[in-house]
Each structure stands twice: as structure tokens, then as C-alpha cells.
Point group: C2
């Protein structure tokens, strides 16, 4: 239960900060992107594609995952426009869809290695 009495709230600061928040919809979309990159196996796929485009089969080999698992993850990434694909005969090639993605990854690498 919310046991913080009215007094402890600095209404002015609360109001001011509330005004700086992006629309709820944007927050949701940002969270979706972060969430997608927040799974190690999915992040590994993205990192692999950051190097060059690959077919599903090769991604699975690079990442030590089954084709099926990779395919499922790629669908998530595709839905969020993090990766895109092109078909060449039987083979489907995947690659990074957006420049922001590589920038995001670079930032987080910097953070990790402080």
C-alpha cells in the first residue's frame, strides 16, 4: 500500500519532471527495443549480424542455437525493425535494419567496459 503521506511529495518537482516524460506510447516502444536486446541469445544474434548478413543456418552456427530457436528470435527482431531479411532462393538472409541499433550496441559496450 502507498504509505507515503502527502507531505513528502515535492509537488513542484513532480509536476516539472512529469512534463518532461515522453508519451506513454513512446516509452512502450523504447522498452520493446530494449527488451528485445535484453535477452543474451537474441543480443548475440544482433551482434553477429552487426558484422555481416547471414542466413538463419549460419546464425544458428555462430550462436550455438537451433535453427528453430533462431527463427523465433528473428521474428521478434524483425517485428521491431531491428533486423530485415531478403530471400535468395531457399535461403533467407538477415541483416541489421537500422543504424540506431549499432549505435545502441556500441553505447552499451562502452558502459559495460566503463
Amino acid at each position: 500500500m502507498d504509505n507515503c503521506s502527502i507531505k513528502c511529495i515535492n509537488e513542484e518537482k513532480v509536476k516539472q519532471t512529469a512534463e518532461t516524460l515522453p508519451p506513454t506510447e513512446d516509452i512502450g516502444r523504447m522498452a520493446d527495443i530494449f527488451k528485445a536486446l535484453g535477452d543474451p541469445s537474441r543480443l548475440k544474434i544482433v551482434l553477429a549480424l552487426l558484422n555481416q548478413e547471414h542466413c538463419v543456418c549460419d546464425i544458428a552456427a555462430v550462436c550455438n542455437q537451433t535453427d528453430s530457436a533462431v527463427s523465433h528470435q528473428l521474428r521478434v527482431l524483425r517485428t521491431l525493425k531491428i533486423v530485415k531479411n531478403r530471400r535468395d532462393g531457399k535461403i533467407m538472409y538477415y541483416s541489421i535494419d537500422d543504424d540506431h541499433v549499432s549505435a545502441l550496441i556500441r553505447m552499451s559496450l562502452d558502459h559495460v567496459r566503463h
Copy 2:
């Protein structure tokens, strides 16, 4: 089951990309950061703190969450060095710990608004 025969794998490409991958430990840490930002309520807290430091109570007010829920989320963010805190009497003030965080947020906003 992995039903992709050996033939479909481009060994050279696989090997080459595998060499570009960061160490597993780094991938895990990056994923942790993304995962932390991947929950809307937690992301909202971070966005609020990006504006200015706040006490737990005020964060709860800004984000329409209970104090308890906010406190739980702040612990996660603190553990990952995304936020830091300082005590002033009974009140605990939280703020963003790292510059990389704001950069990450900005990138994802750009991505969302393409």
C-alpha cells in the same frame, strides 16, 4: 531439432563473424542493461531521473506506482549502476549514475521516432 545440413553453412563466414563477437561475459552484461531498461515502468523511472534527482516518494508520484514497487525497481537499477542514491535524513535521493545511460535513452528515442 537442428535440421540444417552441413552444406548450408558457410564455414568461412561463420568463423569470421564468431571472431568478432564480444566475450560471453560482456554480452551478458550488455543484455542485463538492456533488460533493465526493457520494462516500461522501470524505463519510466529512469526517464524521470534523467530530468533531475528525486526521492522514492516523488518517483512513485511521477510514475503512478507504489513506493514499494518503485523501491524494488530502484534496487535493480542500482545493482546495475544505472542509478545511484544519496541519503538526506529520512529521505533517499536517486539520480542517474552514468552518462552512457542518457546516451542510450536518446538513441532509442531516435529509433522510435525514426
